[in-house]
Amino acid sequence: MSSWIDGVMVVLILTNLALLGTSRITVCIRIIALQGVVLGTLPMLAGEEVTLRLALLTTATVLLKGVVFPWLLLRAMRKAEIQREVEPYVGYILSVMVGLLSLGGSVWLAQGLPLPGPMAGTLALPVALFMIFVGLFTICSRRKAISQILGYIVVENGMYAFGAVILDEVPTLVELGVLLDVFVAVFVMGVAIYHIRREFDHMDVDQLDTLKG
C-alpha cells in the first residue's frame, strides 16, 4: 500500500515538474487535470477501508479538479483567445531546476517537521510542501493571468495533500469549503480574464499596474 502512495507521490512530483517545463498552456491545464485526478484518489489509498463518505469525497474531488476546473479554464482560454505560449519570465529548464531545488528543500524541511498521522512516514509531507512552493513559483514566474490561476490550483492541491497527511480524517466540510473557494476563484478569474481581455486587448498581469491611480 505504501508503495502505491509513493507511486502517487511520484506522479504528483512529476506533474509539477512537467508543469514547470511545459510551454503550452493547454498542456499545462491537462497536467493540472491529471494532478487533480491523482490527488483525488489519495484519501482512497490512505484510508483503511472504503466508506461511503470517502467515496463521495473522492468522486467530488476528482470531478471538480479533474473535469470541471480544466473545462472552465479551457473554455476561458477559448473565449479570450489566449495564445498558447506560457510566456515565462524564467526559462523552462531553469524553472525545472528551481523545482528540483525546492524539492530538495522540501525534503530537508520535512525532516524538521515530524508529524503524527497515518502518512507521516511517507513522502506526502515533502510533496505537499513542494507543491505549495511550485504553485507560488508558477504564480511569480509566469506572465499570463491564466498561469497564475494554475499556480493557485497547485497551491490548493498542495494544501489538500497536506491535509491528507496531518489529519487522520479530513473534515469533509472544511475540505469541501476549500474546494468551493477555489471553484469560485477559478470561475471569477475566468470571467475576469475574459473581461480584461475585452477591455484592454491583452491579458498580461504586469500590465495591470497601469490601472493604479
Binding site: 526559462g91 529548464i93 531553469l94 530538495g104 525534503v107 530537508w108 525532516q111
Partner: protein, 668 residues
C-alpha cells in the same frame, strides 16, 4: 630543516644576483634560472624525507616581537604542498629561460633580470608560506609572494591591459589579505600567541568561530580563486609570461588551499554547515568556472577559468572531508581530503603542463586567440602531444591522473549518497551531480581547445608558419606529462601517500585513515587494471589496424566536406561556434554579448562581422557596482588631496597633536 633554508637562501642570493646583472640579459637569465632550479633541488631533500615519514626538526629562531616565536616547520601537510611548488617552479625556471629569450630584444634593458629577481622571490615566498608556523611570519611570506607575483604579472607593463590586470590582481589579493589579518588577529589575541601551534587554545563561541570560518574562506579563497572571489585569475593569468602563469595557476593559488586547510584544522570541531559551505562554493566555482571557460576564446584566459573549476573540485573534496569530520565518519573524511589533496598535486601537474603548452603556442604562432590558430599539431608535434595528454588529464578521463583524484572524491560522494542517513546523504547527491556535470563540460571545453588550436587546417598565416619550441621548453612539458601518466598508473600508491597526510592534518588516528585508504586500494587497483587493459587493447587494435591496411591501398586527398569541392580553412568550426550550443543553453549564467554586423544587400560591399564576448558576470554585476558605490562617498576625500608636501606635513602634525591629546588627556 637546514637544507630547506639553504635552498631559500640560494633563491634570495640568485634573485639579487640576477638583479645586479640585469644589464646582461643572458647572464642574468642564467643566474636567475639556475639559481631557482638549484634552490628548489636543495630544498626538495628535506621535503621528500618528510613525505617519507621522517621527522624534520623545526627551526626556531629568536624573535624580538611579543607575538610568539619565529618557527619554521615542515610537517606532512606542508610537504605535500611544497612538493608540487618545488617541481613546477624548477621546471618553470627551465622553461622561462627559453621562453623569455625573444623578449630580450623587445624589452628595455634590465627587464629580464628584474623578471628573474621577482620569479625567485615568488618561489621563496611560496616556500616560506608553507613552512611558517607563526601568523606574523606567515603574513610576511604571504605578502612577499603576492608582491612578487604582482610584478611578474606586470611584466609587459607597457600595455594598458596588462597594467589594469595587474592592478586588479593587486587589489583583489590585498582585500583577501585583509580578511586573513582579521582572522589571525582574532585567533591570536584569543589564544594569547601568534604561533599556529597555540591557536587551538583560542576559546571562542560558535558564532565567532563561524565568522572566522567565513573570513578564512574569503581571505584564502581569494588567493585560491573560489567563486565569486576569483575575478583576478582570468585577468592576471593571461597577461603574465607563460612560465609565471604556470607557476601561479599551478601552485601559487594552492597556497590559498593550504592556508585554508591549515586554519580549518586549528579551529576545532567543525559544524556541518562549514562542510556544506565548502561544497556549495565548490559547486559554484566548478560549474560556473568551466562554463565561463567554454565561452572564452583567449587560450590562457580559458585555462585561467579552468583553474577556478579545479579549485572548485578541490573545495568539494574538502567539503566532503569537513562534513566527514563533523558527522564522525573517518571514511568520508579520508576519501574527501585524500581526493582533494591528490587533486592539488594533479592540478599542479596538468595545469602547468597546459600553460607551458599555451606558452609554446604563443611563442611559436605569436597569438593566443584560438580562432586564429588551427592545425598546429603538424607544426608543433611535441607540444601538441603533451597538450593532448594534459587536456585528457584535466578532463578527468582515465587512464591519467585527473581521473584518480576525481575518482576518490566520487567514491566519497557515492559512499555518502549510498549509505549515510539524513541530510549528509544529500551532500553525496550534490557532489555527484556537480562532478558529472563538470566532467562532461570540461571534456567539451578541452575538445574545443585541442580541436581548434591543434587540429584541422591553420586559420591564419601565423598558425601556418608556427614553429616548434626548443628542448628547454618541451623537456618540462615531457616531465609533467610523464608524471600525469605515472600517477594515473600508480593510483594506489598515490592514494597511500595521502593517508598519513590526512591523518596528520585532521588528527584522525593513522590507523583509521590507513583503513579508509585500504578501502580505496581495491577500487584503485581495479582502476589501474582497467587502465592497463585499456592500453593493451589500444596497442592490439593499433596493430590490427596496421595489418589490415598493410596490403591495401592508402590514399590521401582533401577532406570530404559532403561533396563541397573546395573547403577553405575559414569554413571550419571555430572555438566560438563549437561552444555556442552549450553557452546558449546556459546563457542566463554567462551573459554573453554578441555583436553582429550583417553583410549588406545581395552584393555586399563590406564583409559582415560577428563577435561574441563573455565578460565575467561577477565583475559586471557585483564588483563594479559595489566599487562605484564605495567610491562615491569616498570621493570627497579628494578635497584634502592637493599634492603639496607642505599640506601633507601639516596633516601629519595635526594628527600627531590629536593623538597626543587623546593619549595624554585634555590638559586640565
Amino acid at each position: 630543516m637546514s637544507p630547506f633554508m639553504l635552498g631559500i637562501l640560494i633563491l634570495f642570493i640568485s634573485a639579487l644576483l640576477a638583479l645586479a646583472l640585469r644589464r646582461e640579459h643572458e647572464a642574468a637569465s642564467r643566474v636567475g634560472a639556475f639559481g631557482a632550479m638549484l634552490g628548489c633541488a636543495v630544498a626538495t631533500i628535506p621535503v621528500l624525507r618528510a613525505m617519507a615519514g621522517a621527522e624534520i626538526p623545526s627551526l626556531i629562531l629568536p624573535w624580538s616581537m611579543p607575538c610568539g616565536s619565529l618557527i619554521f616547520r615542515i610537517d606532512l601537510l606542508s610537504a605535500l604542498f611544497l612538493l608540487p611548488i618545488l617541481l613546477v617552479s624548477a621546471l618553470g625556471a627551465l622553461y622561462g629561460l627559453a621562453y623569455l629569450r625573444p623578449y630580450a630584444d623587445r624589452k628595455p634593458v634590465g627587464s629580464l633580470g628584474r623578471c628573474w629577481f621577482w620569479y625567485n622571490l615568488l618561489v621563496a615566498g611560496m616556500l616560506l608560506v608553507c613552512v611558517s608556523h607563526n601568523a606574523l611570519m606567515f603574513l610576511v611570506a604571504w605578502e612577499l609572494m603576492s608582491l612578487a607575483s604582482f610584478f611578474l604579472v606586470a611584466f609587459d607593463d607597457e600595455k594598458t591591459e596588462v597594467r589594469d590586470s595587474a592592478w586588479t590582481y593587486f587589489i583583489a589579493t590585498h582585500l583577501g589579505t585583509a580578511f586573513i589579518i582579521a582572522l589571525f588577529l582574532t585567533m591570536g589575541v584569543a589564544a594569547g600567541s601568534f604561533d599556529f601551534a597555540d591557536f587551538h587554545k583560542a576559546t571562542l563561541g560558535p558564532g565567532v568561530m563561524g565568522v572566522l570560518f567565513l573570513f578564512a574562506v574569503i581571505g584564502f579563497g581569494t588567493k585560491a580563486g573560489f567563486m565569486p572571489f576569483h575575478v583576478w585569475l582570468p585577468e592576471a593569468h593571461p597577461v603574465a609570461p607563460s612560465h609565471v602563469s604556470a607557476v601561479m595557476s599551478g601552485v601559487m593559488i594552492k597556497t590559498g588551499i593550504y592556508g585554508l586547510l591549515r586554519m580549518l584544522m586549528l579551529m576545532g570541531h567543525p559544524p556541518a554547515w562549514w562542510g556544506w559551505t565548502l561544497i556549495g562554493i565548490g559547486l559554484v566555482s566548478g560549474v560556473l568556472g568551466v562554463l565561463f571557460a567554454l565561452a572564452q576564446h583567449d587560450l590562457k584566459r580559458l585555462l585561467a577559468y579552468h583553474s577556478v573549476e579545479n579549485i572548485g573540485i578541490i573545495a568539494m573534496g574538502s567539503g566532503l572531508g569537513m562534513l566527514g569530520i563533523s558527522i564522525g565518519s573517518p571514511l568520508l573524511t579520508t576519501l574527501g581530503f585524500a581526493g582533494a589533496l591528490l587533486h592539488v598535486i594533479n592540478h599542479a601537474l596538468f595545469k602547468s603542463l597546459l600553460f607551458f603548452g599555451a606558452g609554446a603556442v604563443q611563442h611559436g604562432a605569436g597569438t593566443r586567440e584560438m580562432d586564429h590558430l588551427g592545425g598546429l599539431l603538424k607544426r608543433l608535434p611535441l607540444t601538441g602531444l603533451f597538450f593532448l595528454i594534459g587536456a585528457v588529464a584535466i578532463s578527468g578521463l582515465p587512464p591519467l591522473n585527473g581521473f584518480v583524484s576525481e575518482f576518490l572524491i566520487y567514491l566519497g560522494a557515492f559512499h555518502s549518497g549510498a549509505t549515510l542517513h539524513g541530510t549528509a546523504a544529500l551532500s553525496g547527491v550534490a557532489v555527484i551531480t556537480g562532478l558529472a556535470l563538470i566532467g562532461g563540460l570540461a571534456a567539451a571545453c578541452f575538445t574545443k581547445v585541442f580541436g581548434t588550436v591543434f587540429l584541422g587546417a591553420p586559420r591564419t598565416e601565423h598558425a601556418a608558419h608556427a614553429h616548434e619550441c626548443g628542448i628547454l621548453m618541451w623537456l618540462p612539458m615531457l616531465t609533467l606529462a610523464a608524471l600525469c601518466a605515472a600517477i594515473g598508473l600508480c593510483a594506489p600508491l598515490a592514494a597511500n601517500a595521502m593517508a598519513p597526510v590526512v591523518a596528520n592534518m585532521t588528527g584522525l588516528a593513522p590507523e583509521q585513515t590507513a583503513l579508509a585508504v585500504t578501502y580505496a586500494q581495491w577500487p584503485l587497483t581495479g582502476v589501474v587494471t582497467a587502465a592497463v587493459a585499456l592500453l593493451l587493447a589500444l596497442c592490439l587494435l593499433a596493430l590490427l589496424r596496421r595489418r589490415l591496411l598493410a596490403r591495401r591501398s592508402v590514399g590521401a586527398t582533401g577532406t570530404w566536406d559532403c561533396g563541397y569541392a573546395r573547403p577553405t580553412a575559414r569554413m571550419q568550426y571555430t572555438s566560438s561556434s563549437f561552444a555556442q550550443p552549450i553557452t546558449d543553453c546556459f546563457r542566463m549564467f554567462l551573459g554573453t554579448r554578441t555583436s553582429l554586423r550583417a553583410p549588406g544587400e545581395p552584393f555586399p560591399q563590406q564583409p559582415g562581422r560577428l563577435s561574441t564576448e563573455t565578460p565575467d558576470i561577477f565583475i559586471a554585476r557585483f564588483y563594479r557596482p559595489l566599487f562605484s558605490w564605495i567610491t562615491r562617498p569616498l570621493s570627497w576625500t579628494l578635497n584634502v588631496q592637493h599634492g603639496r608636501v607642505q599640506l601633507y606635513v601639516l596633516y601629519v602634525a595635526l594628527t600627531l597633536v590629536a593623538l597626543l591629546i587623546w593619549a595624554l588627556g585634555w590638559p586640565q
